[in-house]
């Protein structure tokens, strides 16, 4: 319950109507730059960071993150390095860190060994976009055992029945995908989005994170009151590419 508790605690702090979760791809452009980016994020108030362990087949990601995965791997980034980096981050920064990756990374490492290691490091949750609950029996059991939140995903295509089903297994928060498609494209916020968020809210008591296409202050403003967490993904990767890691702090600061 660790993750949900820290989220609720943050949300209870005055002026915190919405939390920020950001995303980095480990090893892209390098672990050193990752380190600087994380520092800037934390310094500017980000509450949760999802660290993506790169995978050669990032099926659910859009072009920017796909490229980042690929370049990280081409630069030789290994899972062991990612874990060491994560350990450093958890030690240095007092916010919530999650691992985002694809199931094969855990599978190959050994699912239980991976949970154990993540727990040791201080990771609070996992986001595994290609692991639906139907395939995750061992995973759920281990998540409870190690008290690491197995974040589940709601999509605009999810029926209320399905949301209920997912809610039963979910811990930490629910990651609401803002629209169909992959990461990195702009999302249109409109009436149907509002209805979707209402549906999400009705079908879980967990905090709601909204991701995919959130990139600016306006987006965060729009989400405030509807969601509990706004997820910034591709936007910071693009920013680092274009303007370097120093640009991240001011950008984050500008969001709320």
């Amino acid at each position: 319950m660790q993750l949900e508790q820290s989220i609720r605690a943050e949300l209870d702090r005055p002026g915190k109507d919405i939390l920020l979760m950001t995303h980095i791809v480990l090893g892209y452009p390098s672990l050193d730059i990752n380190r600087e980016v994380v520092r800037q994020m934390v310094d500017n108030g980000v509450e949760i960071i999802e660290m993506q362990i790169p995978f050669s087949e990032p099926m659910a990601d859009g072009p920017t993150i796909v490229r980042a995965n690929q370049e990280a791997l081409e630069a030789g980034t290994t899972v062991r390095e990612c874990l060491e980096f994560a350990e450093d981050m958890c030690k240095e920064h007092d916010i919530s860190f999650l691992f985002m990756t694809y199931y094969n990374i855990l599978y190959k490492y050994g699912v239980e060994a991976f949970f154990k290691k993540a727990k040791e490091i201080g990771i609070k949750g996992f986001i595994i976009p290609d692991l639906p609950p139907e395939e995750g029996e061992e995973f759920w059991a281990l998540a409870s055992q190690y008290d690491i939140a197995p974040t589940l995903i709601y999509a605009p295509t999810s029926t209320e029945e399905r949301m209920q089903e997912l809610a039963a297994n979910a811990r930490g928060f629910i990651y609401c995908v803002a629209r169909k498609g992959v990461t990195g494209k702009q999302t249109d916020f409109d009436a149907s989005f509002d209805q979707y968020m209402a549906r999400c809210r009705r079908n879980t008591s967990l905090p709601l994170a909204v991701g995919f296409g959130i990139s600016c202050r306006d987006d965060i403003a729009y989400l405030t009151g509807k969601a509990d967490i706004g997820v910034i993904g591709t936007a910071t990767i693009n920013l680092v590419d274009d303007k370097g890691p120093e640009a991240v702090g001011p950008f984050i600061a500008s969001l709320r």
């Binding site: 990601d61 899972v79 694809y102 094969n104 490492y109 999509a155 169909k180």
Partner: protein, 409 residues
């Protein structure tokens, strides 16, 4: 009880949540179709009038004599419309798409064969069609791109990853999670998330059904062995299903040995020691991956076999000892192809030639009253660029240089 979509420990459906309803619908439609004899009949009729099923079983007299052993029979999937067994799967899925009322299809393609087949089906059924193809493959297989476009499909070069088949699959999924409402993803082989392996295997089982009847009629009894090349495994599963219930028939899957099984440059998942269990592209099987779980670069002279994963159904059959796996090197493949052309006037695809290699290795040690069947999954004449290149044919090169200069002028 076995979980649906699992074959032993292999298979499953590792899909993003956004596709949950899409797969529910697909499973329902497929289950209904499979239970409906009229659907299978519609499929058989379509393949009989649009493609040329039943495809013949050819007795290769010359080669049988040449090796002096078993009677060699060749199942002629090359004679299908579009030139390979891929047509079976694609037309079957096309009928399913019609049932589901979807208006658009997408597909991945490596060599281009499945892409051409899908574009063909889309034209026939009046569907919008987008094909994802690794940029490397687009460059290597331009003729197929040309035909896909002429058939009305949009071909999207995929620039991520190794820019080949597996990346095209990822990209097709990225499309599908964006447009699942009106779109069906026509998976090209017996891989990917459930129900694809079961579905593709079902449509391809028409090969084995025919071959079983044909060998009984033409030879008088079951074959001793059946050979098929294995990329994803669809042509192999297709023919194997006709004989799986008959333990006396040995089934042999032949993978791409590339530069050799010990070279690291091959695509042998089950015939080499280089693969390990993993989960990717939506399913659980043996993958060629490194210790971190990153997929490796594979190599084969045959683009259609150049793939990191393999059908979960075949992995299970392999584990149970019901299918033997072997590998054929690029060089062995070229030799078998040349021999087959010269002796029988038949041009197997580079993929199919892998099956011929292993059959040729074994035929001579068998008895003349035994029969073997080689599944000729496709024809090689569509691959002139790859084949002529692989043979390093000087007058071909000269021709291309001249043509290039002419166009550059």
């Amino acid at each position: 009880m076995q979980k649906p979509g699992y074959y032993g420990q292999w298979g499953g459906a590792f899909i993003p949540e956004v596709l949950y309803e899409t797969f529910k619908e697909l499973n329902a439609a497929f289950t209904a179709a499979k239970a409906d004899p009229a659907f299978w009949q519609e499929y058989v009729d379509l393949m009989a009038t649009y493609s040329c099923r039943a495809t013949p079983l050819t007795h290769a007299d010359n080669l049988s004599r040449h090796f002096g052993g078993a009677q060699i029979f060749i199942k002629r999937e090359d004679l299908n419309h579009t030139g390979a067994h891929k047509a079976n799967n694609v037309m079957g899925q096309g009928l399913l798409v019609k049932r589901m009322g979807k208006k658009r299809v997408i597909a991945e393609t490596g060599a281009g064969q499945h892409g051409v087949a899908t574009a063909t089906m889309a034209a026939k059924f009046g569907l919008e069609c987008t094909i994802y193809m690794g940029e490397e493959d687009v460059m290597r297989q331009r003729p197929n791109v040309f035909w896909m476009e002429k058939l009305g499909a949009k071909v999207v070069p995929v620039t991520s990853g190794s820019k080949t088949l597996k990346d095209a699959i990822n990209e097709a999924f990225r499309d599908w999670v964006t447009r699942m409402d009106d779109t069906h993803y026509v998976m090209g082989t017996v891989c990917g998330p459930h129900p694809f392996p079961e579905m593709v295997a079902w449509f391809q089982s028409i090969i084995g059904q025919e071959a079983h009847q044909q060998i009984i009629k033409q030879f008088g009894s079951l074959p001793a062995r059946v050979y098929a090349c294995v990329g994803g495994g669809s042509n192999a599963m297709g023919i194997f299903q006709g004989f799986l219930d008959h333990g006396e028939v040995e089934l042999i899957g032949v993978e791409a040995g590339g530069h050799g099984i010990d070279s690291g440059q091959h695509a042998a998942r089950l015939a080499s020691k280089d693969a390990s269990a993993g989960v990717a592209q939506g399913y659980h099987t043996m993958f060629l991956q490194n210790d971190d779980g990153q997929m490796m670069d594979t190599h084969s002279v045959a683009a259609g076999l150049d793939y990191v994963g393999v059908s979960p159904i075949l992995t299970d059959l392999w584990q149970q000892g019901k299918v033997r796996f072997e590998a054929a090197t690029d060089q062995e493949v070229m030799e078998a192809l040349e021999l087959t052309m010269k002796r029988e006037g038949i041009i197997p695809a580079l993929e199919s030639s892998h099956a011929f290699v292993q059959a040729y290795k074994e035929a001579g040690d068998m008895e003349a009253d035994e029969a073997i069947i080689i599944n000729m999954s496709g024809r090689g004449d569509k691959d002139i660029f790859t084949v002529a290149h692989a043979f390093d044919d000087p007058s071909w090169k000269e021709f291309i240089i001249k043509k290039g200069a002419e166009y550059a002028a």
